[in-house]
């Protein structure tokens, strides 16, 4: 196939611009829909080639459709990311400076935590330390709600995690800002936030929960793939649908 973009590519890209992130199944359906709408050839296994064609034209604009895994359910997602401003400035048209600082503090808390979560209490406390302009408690809660609504954070039972979109888009930023603290998943080699940790103090590798599920599936005695110590955590089940995404 040629690398020329057609209207099917443009429609796919426009939809991505509207939604920001879609799961793999959604991307496949959309791919088929775009091809059918513009009467172009649709090869179900060529989604990544199709996206590559779009990316080759997006590259001069410092944009890219990038693939990444959800830490909640292990599914692949596609996100449209902006590489010119991978960091928080991308959001600067939507958020005030002190709101961005709060978001930075939240990322910091999550990166520094063992389980990839930050409690609302900790975030509210860190709001007192904002240097630009303090946020009241109600304002902080409002900002957090917006960050969840805009798909930068996920919230469950008062605990905040980085959304899949945030991880895909902010990866270069987080890697540079927190290079000493960020750990990679031993299995998939991507950044790991919500994960299990090897309890051998001299090892301490991290593995994403969905990667744990896949790696240890069917093994009778789970052992750390790095140090071979016993893996003491509960092994989650491999999940196939998004609906059962709560561990």
């Amino acid at each position: 196939m040629s690398r020329q973009m057609g209207d099917s590519h443009r429609r796919f890209l426009q939809t991505m611009m509207g939604s920001g992130i879609i799961d793999q199944q959604g991307a496949k359906t959309l791919y088929q829909y775009c091809c059918e709408t513009h009467n172009t050839q649709h090869a179900p296994d060529k989604l990544d080639d199709f996206i590559e064609t779009i990316n080759s034209k997006l590259q001069p604009m410092f944009m890219q459709i990038r693939k990444g895994m959800s830490e909640d359910n292990g599914q692949q997602y596609y996100a449209l990311v902006n590489m010119a401003e991978t960091d928080v400035t991308r959001m600067s048209s939507d958020y005030a400076d002190n709101e961005l600082e709060l978001f930075g503090k939240t990322i910091e808390l999550i990166v520094g935590s063992e389980n990839g979560k930050a409690s609302s209490t900790d975030i509210l406390n860190s709001a007192d330390m904002l240097t630009i302009k303090k946020l009241k408690k109600s304002e902080t809660e409002h900002v957090l709600n917006r960050l969840v609504h805009d798909k930068w954070l996920n919230e469950k039972r008062g605990e905040y995690t980085l959304s899949t979109r945030c991880i895909i888009e902010m990866e270069p930023y987080i890697r540079t800002m927190y290079q000493d603290q960020v750990k990679m998943c031993h299995i998939c080699r991507n950044m790991a936030f919500q994960c299990q940790i090897c309890e051998n103090p001299s090892c301490g590798i991290k593995i994403h929960n969905p990667c744990v599920a896949r790696y240890f599936k069917g093994r009778s005695e789970p052992r750390c793939p790095a140090c071979d110590d016993f893996w003491p955590h509960e092994i989650p089940e491999v999940r196939h649908t998004r609906s059962q995404s709560r561990r």
Partner: protein, 258 residues
């Protein structure tokens, strides 16, 4: 931040004047552009083009029109002498990559918007974009204005919406503050014009189609919609039909809302 900051840091010292006003900017001539291009590298031109494209895309998320003065002041900056070349390339990128058309809606203030070149499809897209519900509201309002021959008093709109159980005085689940969306957001996006009728006491306003609607929304589609609603052929409204199909058979109904 990286690229943007680096670029603006290197040359910010050359720009001290405040140029909020478009009058300080004169469109450079072709030969000036030629000479300007000789002084910059292709990579610099590409970089500026990318920044202009990004700037438009951010503004377009909220469908805000972009003024030339703002592009020059916030993005193009010291590359102002090759501004026409940068805009030409940005327009080409919108066309080729994004399926969008860069349109100047006001030649006096040099204001631009992006219009979708891809036609809306009959089948619903499998992925719903978040902006959709408000577009439904807009479509109804544009329909009413169109059927009333281009201009209606605001009360007509509010009463129509009330009949559809959308009360402009109350907060709506999907639209939020309905009155604000209609009289402020749609107006800023240039979908609607909301103008005070002179010499009225108490104050009255009227609605017309805005410039974006004129370019982006298909009148033929609106007539089809009205036809379905009333169980009639679109031709039943002869005056509207003529307006929707100007030279009778030239492209009935192109793109509409995204």
């Amino acid at each position: 931040m990286t690229q943007r900051k680096r670029l603006s840091n290197t040359q910010s010292s050359t720009q001290n004047r405040e140029e909020d006003d478009d009058t300080t900017f004169t469109q450079p001539s072709t030969s000036q552009v030629q000479r300007g291009l000789e002084k910059v590298t292709p990579a610099q031109v590409d970089q500026k083009t990318a920044e202009v494209v990004q700037y438009f895309l951010v503004k377009d998320q909220k469908k805000m029109p972009v003024r030339r003065a703002d592009i020059v002041k916030h993005v193009v900056k010291e590359y102002r002498n090759i501004y026409p070349e940068i805009m030409k390339r940005a327009a080409h990128t919108f066309d080729q990559v994004f399926g969008l058309k860069l349109v100047e809606i006001d030649a006096k203030s040099h204001t631009y918007i992006l219009i979708n070149k891809l036609e809306t499809t009959d089948g619903a897209s499998p992925i719903n974009s978040p902006a959709n519900p408000k577009m439904g509201l807009l479509f109804v309002i544009l329909s009413v204005i169109f059927m009333k021959e281009g201009v209606v008093k605001e009360n007509v709109i509010w009463n129509t919406l009330k009949k559809l159980r959308v009360d402009p005085g109350k907060k709506h689940e999907d639209f939020g503050d309905v009155k604000k969306v209609v009289t402020d957001e749609f107006v800023r996006q240039r979908y609607l014009e909301y103008v005070r009728i002179p010499h009225t006491e108490p104050v009255e306003h009227e609605f017309r189609w805005g410039q974006r609607a004129e370019i982006e929304v298909s009148k033929a589609r609106i007539l089809e919609f009205m036809g379905e609603l009333h169980g009639l052929e679109p031709q039943s409204w002869s005056q509207q039909y003529r307006e929707a199909h100007p030279a009778s058979n030239t492209q009935p109904g192109t793109s509409s809302q995204r």
